[in-house]
């Protein structure tokens, strides 16, 4: 059986990948996808931990995370559309009005 730490390490890597995407991609859709990646890393931890501990709470949590991720994606994409309507682009660099 694969030790649970391996899964955690994998999750950390994936989480960091997602974080990189969110940090460095200027395309807002890319940012959203990167966040999905981060959430997946979280899910991995939950599932692996639940398996190692031996209870189901982790899997339940994953279901909720997926729900929330879907909601976030919906709202986020709606925002992307609204943004695109207004500016004709989805690049985050245009979001520079508010600063200071």
């Amino acid at each position: 059986m694969v030790p649970v730490e391996f899964y955690f390490m994998l999750a950390c890597v994936v989480f960091t990948m997602g974080l990189f995407g969110a940090l460095f991609r200027r395309n807002i859709i890319m940012v959203l996808m990167s966040i999905e990646l981060m959430l997946n890393a979280v899910n991995l931890v939950f599932v692996a931990a639940g398996r190692s501990i031996g209870n189901l709470d982790g899997q339940i949590m994953v279901l909720f995370v997926i729900t929330v991720a879907a909601c976030e994606a919906a709202v986020g994409l709606a925002m992307v559309i609204a943004l695109f309507r207004k500016y004709g682009t989805v690049n985050t660099d245009i979001l520079r009005l508010l600063r200071g």
Binding site: T16, N27, M33, N43, I53, A73
Partner: protein, 183 residues
């Protein structure tokens, strides 16, 4: 557990892990959003496979159905709708702040990995939920459902409100505001 199956599960895990890492990298590094989305789907499938190795079949299924099947499709749909051109990857200009952040995040990652390897705390969890126990209890899906609808009924119900909320929010956000002049 036999040596062989142990080796097999290790091999499977490492293969999947390698793939996941690679695909994840592709997700964030692909120039074109569509490519990213496709890699994301792949990634989600791979993760579902991992879940399956972890005896979490229901979650694996949901992962495929909802995540890969709905969420990422939504992404693809929006990408197509907006007819986005490939990124110039301008974002990967590396100024000092970006470089510092990159290095620091890597450090953060190693810290987290370092913490992860500390290993499972002893004396925790009843360990009652072995594969056999799952099978005895009526299978993973049954157990998850029971759990969800008893202990987690409150968040479950709230999640429905959350989804309603998300729908309303998405409608409010994406609705064209005719009075508002485009910039």
């Amino acid at each position: 557990m036999s040596e062989l199956s142990n080796f097999m599960s290790h091999a499977v895990f490492h293969a999947l892990a390698g793939l996941i890492t690679l695909v994840s990298l592709m997700v964030v590094a692909s120039k074109h959003p569509v490519k990213s989305a496709v890699f994301l789907v792949v990634d989600l499938f791979l993760l579902a496979a991992v879940y399956a190795t972890l005896e979490s079949h229901f979650v694996a299924a949901i992962q495929v159905l909802v995540y890969a099947g709905a969420v990422v499709v939504l992404f693809l749909f929006v990408i197509m709708l907006l007819n986005l051109q490939p990124d110039q990857l301008r974002g990967l200009r590396f100024n000092a702040p970006e470089a510092v952040t990159l290095i620091l995040s890597l450090i953060g990652m190693f810290i987290m990995i370092g913490v992860s390897v500390a290993g499972k705390p002893t004396g925790l969890g009843d360990g009652s939920l072995t594969v056999e126990a799952i099978a005895d209890g009526g299978g993973n899906t049954y157990l998850v459902a029971m759990k969800l609808l008893t202990d987690f009924i409150w968040p479950f119900e709230l999640a429905s409100v959350l989804i309603l909320l998300a729908i309303v929010a998405a409608v409010v956000i994406a609705k064209k505001d005719h009075k508002d002049q485009p910039a």
